[in-house]
Amino acid sequence: MSLAAAPTKPVSHRVLLMATCLCDAFFPEAAQATVQVLESAGCEVLFPQDQTCCGQPAFNSGDFSASRRVARHTETVFAGELPVIVPSGSCAAMHMHGNAIQFEREPDAARFDDLGRRTWELCDFLVHGLGLTSWPGSFPHRIALHHSCHTRGSGTRSAMQTLLESIDGLTLVPFAQEDQCCGFGGTFSVSFPHVSGSMGTLKLDHALKETPEFMTSADLSCLMHLSGLADRQNRPFKILHVAQILLASLPR
């Protein structure tokens, strides 16, 4: 049941934005950039006010009854037929894969199959939904691209690569062991502080060795973890969500 083999996903220029709880709490610019990027691609962006979180923190803790409550709320908020666009591979994976596990034996499982089918990670939607093959403008910077773990097997990885590589002046800087996790893992980062911190430090070591100007990703959770670690270790490290790069690249 790979993410790539998901049933055909709906495409429309009218979309629902799921901004994610992290953007809601910490990263307003990334959510704003997501809106502006979608609008520049010709979309009308609707933002359901009652949205909160996809429920993943509780799901990953094994508290399925708590996470199902949150997921049911989210499903109601995003009801209908419109595509749901998420600036996060992780929250998108929760809809596309996680819910299938926790609703397997629930009577309303079909509603979550439908929500998963309608959910797109932002870059995946731009490339594999809207059919973009490049992104306009320029962003003359050296970028380390961190592929977040929840985009494994999804269309996001190739989509990000396609978009970023097409931007004038943007150089993607490869680094060692790119496929290794950043160590965040939600509650894992607080219940396994040593292992999580060591994983993140390794990621920083490998990326910073190549002296990128920014690290980007489809997921702010990884970037928040890495920049928080770098900050504690007094290592200069700048992050941008991929939507922020796409926005900054646009010709004004």
Binding site: G62, R69, V77
Partner: protein, 463 residues
Amino acid sequence: MSARQPIDQFAASLPGDRRSSVLGSCQAATSKRLTALADDFAHADDLRRLAARIKQHTLDHLDTYLEAATARLEEQGVKVHFASEAEEARSLIHQILAERGAKRIVKAKSMVTEEIHLNDYLIDRGLECLETDLGEFIIQIDGDIPSHIIRPITHKNRREIAQSFEREGLGAYNDDPEVITRRARVHLRDRYMKSQAGITGANFVCADSGRIVLVTNEGNSRFSMAPNPLHIAVVGIEKIIPRDRDLGVFLNLLARSATGQRLTVYTEFLRGPKAPGQPSGPEEMHVVFLDNGRSRILGSDCREILRCIRCGACQNVCPVYRQASGHAYRSTYGGPIGAVLTPLLAGDDFAAFADLPKASSLCGACREVCPVDIPIPDMLLKLRHQAHDAGIRSPGAPPMAPFAELATRPVIWRGAMTLSRAANLVPTQLLPVPALQSWLKLRTLPHWRGGEFRQWMATRKKP
């Protein structure tokens, strides 16, 4: 209960050089695997999925295939036994050996005999039971336990090994791996010739032919059988595959996934005891099929874990295993496979190992490399759920009910988001939230900017 996860504590106490050696060998094995697969197969993922389907099919009809394999083996003169539990297997094997007066036993590397702690059992009953795989031999003389499925001594460096050899009277201190290997070979060769029985595992058992397949790089399983009259193969019931021809899929995947080789140096195909006219080989052959919880797992929602062919690729790629090493998992199987298999095999003792499935960032790397495409992360989640449902507390994990309360009340959620900005005004180190404090020990937190995006969205002029 301790406030920290045991695996995290273990990782934190691991000496730096040990950690580097585990990390380095795992990264090297991961790269070799990738190259070995990509070099020969344009669509390696399709091969993995094919292997998964063959194994899953076998498991879905295991009763039929087990019966077929047993019938073929018996036709070929093999004595077949079934053991439902570890104790039954151990005493059965001891009985076979005792009845034939076999006291000196040589053993090839086998995870299933580790699982049932066969060595200790036989040694306690006065038998000599010698591991002949170099890694396992070193584990045995050190009274240690394997820390990796394929490289049991991946946690040791050569200086430690040289000291062990010196202590055991195998020559003066010398940490040259070639010298160590040569000395072990000389020592073992003599024991092979004096042995009275050989015990092996099995990598595959083909139901259509009753053929047992063993892969090694040292040829020690062959040596364990050739000179002595009795061979006992201990086999988990999940090792069966339907046909000889399926070996084309599995042998191609196993060596590449395990060691990055196209094929191991030795691949042995056994069909029963020595035939008349054959110059050497055991006159008597036994197969002990072991259940030890496997039927129970087959009936659970984690049955896919029984597809495992014990290649260790998930251990190599796992960032948690790399930091913590195999011993952190307190069982025969470490890393992602162990985090799933150990609590499942534990049965009534589930609670004692309920922390293992927590030891993952759910990064999914294990599934990506698994030669039989086991959805390990999904199983980690299911087992976490099982632990939560059983009321087993997990150290360091924040309770989720308050989060669910908040996240299902949008008005309160929005208010909390805006209020959260007040947290910027107090030193975060003072906030009495354990999860937050654990975060802050190693990382800073960005400024709270709750509600800003919503405000922007509500007040901006649309283009």
